[in-house]
């Protein structure tokens, strides 16, 4: 299957190993991977802050770029950015032509774990990683894309990994895009509940499907001098320690 990697601007600039790991995993399960270097951002920051006109222009570009591509699927290591692409039709509710184009792109765009499990029907990607770990449900993956069992199935098949459920795994980490800097005190108060749960889990690593949430959680763990690592699910699935 031919897939085009929509790596997200955050991963591209701040966490390139997540992109490299995604390529590694997709190739391992037999996909032919392409990357279009005209891609930038999915438009979520503007859309979520209320700047729809600005978001529309960036979304149009995204749609045009991937329309050119003949791949079977557009795959992204982000539930949140994938969900944004799924929201595109909302941006073009009053523009029949773009609405159609937006819907077509949305249908072809998948989050990584969802693509592996739902489309490719693969739950074991041959990964190995030793240690105790837990999973944080990133909100948009969980509630916009309904990803709950998919990442867990993938993680449970990682050899050597001991999976434990996090208390309130499905509660928000407090990131929320511009919310995290508009209301940093509230964002941190929410985050500290997540950190407490992670500490109680006594794990070596906390895994999630969105680099943004992991930056929020990881940033606090790092500030507190914690030894717990944050890991993107793509990195875990790419890992082959043994």
């Amino acid at each position: 299957m031919r897939v085009s990697l929509f790596v997200t601007c955050l991963v591209d600039q701040l966490w390139s190993s997540v992109g490299a790991s995604s390529v590694e995993v997709l190739r391992r399960v037999g996909c032919e991977v392409e990357f279009d270097d005209r891609q930038t951002c999915c438009a979520q920051p503007a859309f979520n802050t209320g700047y729809r006109q600005e978001a529309r222009e960036v979304a149009k570009r995204f749609i045009s770029i991937y329309e050119d591509s003949k791949v079977d699927a557009i795959v992204s290591p982000s539930g949140s950015c994938t969900a944004m692409v799924h929201h595109y039709p909302e941006l073009f509710a009053e523009d029949a032509e773009w609405l159609k184009r937006a819907q077509a792109i949305a249908e072809r765009t998948h989050e990584l774990s969802s693509f592996l499990v739902r489309v490719l029907k693969v739950e074991d990607v041959g990964a190995s990683w030793t240690g105790r770990l837990t999973w944080h449900d990133a909100c948009h993956g969980l509630r916009d894309l309904n990803l709950k069992s998919e990442p867990r199935s993938l993680i449970k098949n990682v050899r050597g990994a001991e999976f434990v459920e996090l208390d309130n795994a499905d509660s928000c980490c407090g990131f929320g895009g511009t919310f995290s800097v508009k209301y940093p005190e509230i964002s941190l108060a929410i985050l500290d509940q997540k950190i407490e749960a992670i500490e109680r889990a006594e794990v070596k690593a906390v895994v999630s499907g969105d680099a943004s949430c992991l930056m929020q959680i990881g940033g606090r763990l790092s500030r507190k001098g914690s030894q717990v690592k944050v890991m993107h699910i793509a990195e875990l699935l790419a890992s082959q320690e043994a």
């Binding site: 701040l14 270097d37 209320g50 509660s171 940033g219």
Partner: protein, 486 residues
């Protein structure tokens, strides 16, 4: 903590975060109500199906509200109810004050009603020299403390047992105790006398049934039953959206509302009030007045996106589920409707100008939408309101509009994100300049001129930041990954 406004949400929130008693009370109560709700949803076979049915009914009501209101009024009037229409809060209050004055009323007992909180009825009644007593235990506590409710169904959720005990000692002169039964008994004794003496009882309305003209009110304490049956006059205050078409629809809504609100299968009392008493010797009030309140609702109804805000049945589940509400409680919102649904309704009721922080007071996590018994897409409504706010502030970009900087930033962002070369260049420039602030592979607390980068300062106030990679993914791709095919 009280009487703060939505305009200062950020300051209110900070004050709430610094209040450890408040946060302890909130943490206990919201998690308890959340767990109870979840357990209660499992006592019906098809919770999701019920939600869908409820929303379908509400959508139908909102699309044909005029017709359903006519039916409701006609049926209730035929049974002796008298109707009063209020365009806004002031009209509603003056109708009620006039009804009270005409009847020479001195004392009014009131049962819990968010609609009368919305109109600030108590203030109006007190200004007219009419004594009003709240009879719901939570509301009674709030009234004694001269505060406002901080939750839609648990008005005193922000108070600890100890705070309530101290309040009762101070205001009611009871001996200090932390025995909940003793506290409740004291309140009960105080209130019983009030019911007997009251000239008028004022209540809210949970549902108005169009086909019968029946008013339905749910409660647990029995105070609503007394409020609506003991005094000679009953005034019910009702938002115009509270209609259900058929009596049989209650089968769905009476399953959804108590489970979502308090995690109960059913409330202890359900009052069904259809008109006034028909027989002189029967029990119940001689007069039933229904005040129908618009106060911005028809404006919400007119808009296809915001219309769904009116499907809300005021269960409060979204408050308990909201990570923001869980931390700061209700008062910070500066509105009688706090939490996610409050952040949607308040700006629509009060206008965007003074409430524009509220739609941004959300991480858009979607927990509210997940628990909403009538499937209101609250995140979508918040996003809609955010876009309204930025569009409304657009003509003033040159003035002292607080969004000038933000707007400019998103213009620059748009220019960058639509030009890959500029996007790449920005990344590379970032790499160069971050050398000033990156230490041990991360960006920690900022010092000196770097603090001028406000969002970065806000982020690093409590979190470290990952620096920009020395090699972006696209560079990695073109150098290595593209060619390495296995």
């Amino acid at each position: 903590m009280n009487h703060v406004t939505s305009e200062t949400f950020d300051e209110n929130a900070k004050a709430a975060l610094a209040d450890s008693q408040l946060r302890g009370a909130l943490r206990n109560a919201t998690s308890l109500f959340g767990q109870r709700r979840l357990a209660a949803t499992k006592t019906v076979t098809d919770w999701e199906g019920l939600r869908t049915q409820a929303r379908t009914i509400k959508d139908d009501v909102l699309l044909h509200l005029d017709q359903y209101l006519e039916k409701f009024v006609a049926h209730a009037e035929s049974r002796g109810a008298q109707f009063h229409w209020a365009r806004d809060a002031a009209e509603a209050n003056s109708i009620i004050c006039n009804l009270a004055k005409q009847r020479g009323a001195r004392t009014i007992v009131k049962s819990k009603s968010m609609t009368t909180e919305e109109t600030h009825l108590n203030v109006a009644l007190e200004a007219a020299n009419i004594q009003v007593v709240e009879t719901d235990l939570g509301e009674y506590i709030i009234q004694l403390a001269e505060e406002t409710p901080s939750h839609i169904i648990v008005p005193a959720i922000h108070k600890t047992k100890r705070q309530i005990a101290e309040l009762f000692t101070e205001e009611l002169g009871m001996a200090p105790t932390d025995d909940v039964d003793k506290l409740t008994r004291t309140a009960r004794e105080q209130l019983r006398n009030r019911f007997a003496a009251a000239d008028i009882g004022i209540s809210g309305v949970n549902f108005g049934i169009a086909e019968t003209g029946t008013i339905v009110i749910l409660e647990n304490e029995g105070n609503i039953r007394l409020t609506t049956s003991l005094p000679r006059v009953h005034i019910a205050v009702m938002g115009i959206e509270k209609i259900l078409p058929r009596f049989a629809d209650l089968d769905i809504f009476l399953k959804l509302l108590p489970r979502s609100g308090t995690g109960q299968r059913l409330t202890t009392y359900q009052s069904f009030i259809t008109g006034t008493k028909t027989d002189k010797n029967a029990e119940g009030p001689e007069e039933l007045h229904v005040v129908m309140l618009d106060n911005g609702r028809s404006r919400m109804l007119a808009h296809p996106v915001t219309r769904q805000s009116l499907a809300c049945i005021r269960c409060g589940a979204c408050l308990n589920a909201c990570p923001v509400y869980q931390q700061i409680g209700g008062h910070a919102y500066g509105s009688v409707y706090p939490g996610p649904i409050g952040a949607v309704i308040t700006p629509q009721l009060m206008g965007l100008e003074k409430t524009q922080q509220l739609p941004y007071a959300s991480s858009l996590c979607g927990a509210c939408r997940e628990v909403c018994p009538v499937k209101i897409d609250i995140p979508r409504l918040l996003l809609h309101l955010r876009s309204e706010i930025t569009e409304k502030s657009a003509p003033n970009v040159t003035s002292a509009n607080p969004r000038t900087g933000e707007r400019l930033a998103f213009k620059v962002w748009q220019a960058t994100m639509t030009r890959p070369w500029l996007y790449e260049l920005s990344g590379k420039l970032g790499r160069l300049f971050q050398g000033l602030v990156v230490k041990n592979g991360r960006i920690g607390v900022l010092k000196g001129p770097a603090r001028l980068a406000t969002p970065l300062t806000a982020w690093t106030s409590g979190r470290d930041l990952r620096p920009i990679e020395q090699q972006s993914f696209r560079e990695l791709w073109s150098k290595e990954l593209a060619h390495k095919k296995d």
